[in-house]
């Protein structure tokens, strides 16, 4: 047997997922060596390309199988409920904010916009359908909510830069829609922490009543700049408390679901950070009469970042859980609680 060729093929086969290697590596190696020409020392280029392609297919297949497991579906169900409740809070906050800022006479709806009312009603229905598990309605309502969110972007009049200020909420609406489709058929009990998220939504709605203290164009004395928004120190603790409640609700889920929730939230978080911290130049033009349209690169970054963040989180989670699984297995086998890491590659 040509040991050099054997070693090189073994190294090449490491690109396959562990499960695939456990199942097929020995016989694949046998087939590769049997197919080799006499005296062959290196893998043929055709074999290398074929094995790499096969490894990509195997990775994609195992990833798709992972995404269909119960933990992911349960996490999607939690994200659907929590996400829609937060979006309802955000939508209602716009109403209370406008009420406090523009209502000329107390207790009238004079300053309110039709789009805000529509948006609040739709998100109320999405949240209700999610919490009460109206299976037939969850995804169609999430689609309507996404359309209403997209409708807030003033595509013609100002410029697509208005998309920037809404990108974070659009991403959240898309995540809620995907979660609603993913969680179809999930009929477990309501997740722990739902009341906390409802409380966070109520805090958001209440924060709108602070009206003039909430946002300012350039920031009044003592205001804190978060991203591109100036927030009054009076209202800041309310936002911090609302975020803390949502995080706490997430942390109350079983660890497998919590990890997946974190990955599902990554596209939302990265978009929220992307706009003020990397596309700040365009963001600064928002609300000005001379606002510029986004250039293709910026559109590309805006569109690619959320799925890329999810993909990266998903891959890292798989690696982490595989390693944790191997460590648990090692602990169970050796009975040694101090074993911390076993590399599955060896």
């Amino acid at each position: 047997m040509n040991e050099q060729l054997d070693r090189r093929y073994r190294r090449l086969l490491r690109v396959y997922p562990v499960q695939h290697r456990l199942e097929y590596q020995t016989e694949m190696l046998a087939v590769l060596l049997e197919s080799a020409h006499p005296g062959q020392r290196r893998p043929e280029m055709g074999d290398v390309a074929d094995l790499l392609r096969g490894a990509v297919v195997a990775h994609a297949r195992t990833a798709l199988a992972d995404l269909q497991d119960d933990a992911w579906r349960q996490a999607a169900s939690v994200m659907h409920i929590f996400g829609s409740l937060v979006m309802l809070g955000v939508a209602l906050r716009e109403i209370t904010l406008r009420f406090a800022l523009f209502a000329p006479i107390p207790w009238t709806l004079a300053g309110l916009r039709e789009i805000d009312l529509q948006r609040s009603m739709v998100w109320a229905l999405v949240a209700l359908a999610a919490v009460l598990r109206w299976r037939q309605l969850t995804s169609p309502l999430a689609v309507v909510a996404l359309i209403v969110e997209a409708n807030r972007v003033n595509w013609q009049v100002i410029s697509p830069t208005s998309m920037l200020s809404l990108a974070f909420l659009m991403t959240m609406a898309i995540v809620v829609l995907i979660a609603s489709i993913w969680a179809v058929g999930e009929a477990g009990p309501r997740p722990r922490g739902t009341l906390m998220v409802i409380a966070a939504a109520v805090l958001l709605v209440g924060s709108g009543l602070a009206g003039p203290f909430v946002v300012g164009d350039f920031g009044d004395f003592g205001d804190v700049k978060v991203g591109s928004v100036w927030i009054s120190p009076i209202i800041m603790p309310v936002y911090v408390l609302a975020i803390a409640l949502v995080l706490w609700a997430g942390a109350r889920q079983p660890v497998m679901i919590f990890r997946r929730l974190f990955v599902l939230a990554l596209p939302i978080c990265t978009t929220a950070l992307l706009v003020p911290y990397t596309l700040e130049f365009m963001d600064a033009h928002l609300g000005m009469s001379s606002s510029l349209p986004l250039i293709p690169t910026e559109w590309g970054v805006l569109i690619i970042t959320p799925p890329a963040a999810f993909f990266l989180g998903f891959v890292l989670l798989r690696i982490l859980e595989r390693r944790l699984g191997v460590v648990r297995l090692a602990n169970a086998t050796t009975g040694d609680k101090h074993v911390t890491y076993v590399d599955p590659q060896h």
Partner: protein, 133 residues
Amino acid sequence: MEIRRALAYTRWAVYALAVKSGFLGESSFLVLTALASGPQHGYAVLEDIARITDGRVKMRAGTLYAALDRLRIDGLIAVDREEIVQSRLRRYYRLTGVGEQRLVTETEHLRRQMAVAERRLRKRGVSYGTGIA
């Protein structure tokens, strides 16, 4: 109601694409054809495929095992037995009942397509074996 109809149509379209329109893929079809003659190990399947296709298809290990894995997951093939020959593992695969039925369906489908192609080519005045009439 409309949504249900749309969902039903989508499901049908996916099914039609995946099952009825021969979405099995050439490599999977050839592996099933090779195993139709009896249980075979990986290297024998590769050689058999080269023979079936008159050397047109030279399948490699990566493609073969991608197909074998897919077919095993779908229940179209199963492991028959394992042997160690010259210190190398030989795992024999066999066609299952479901696999046999699927091969029948695929073959029928290809035959129908071939008949249509043949009719249309005849209409154009093309005859087989003797070139253009």
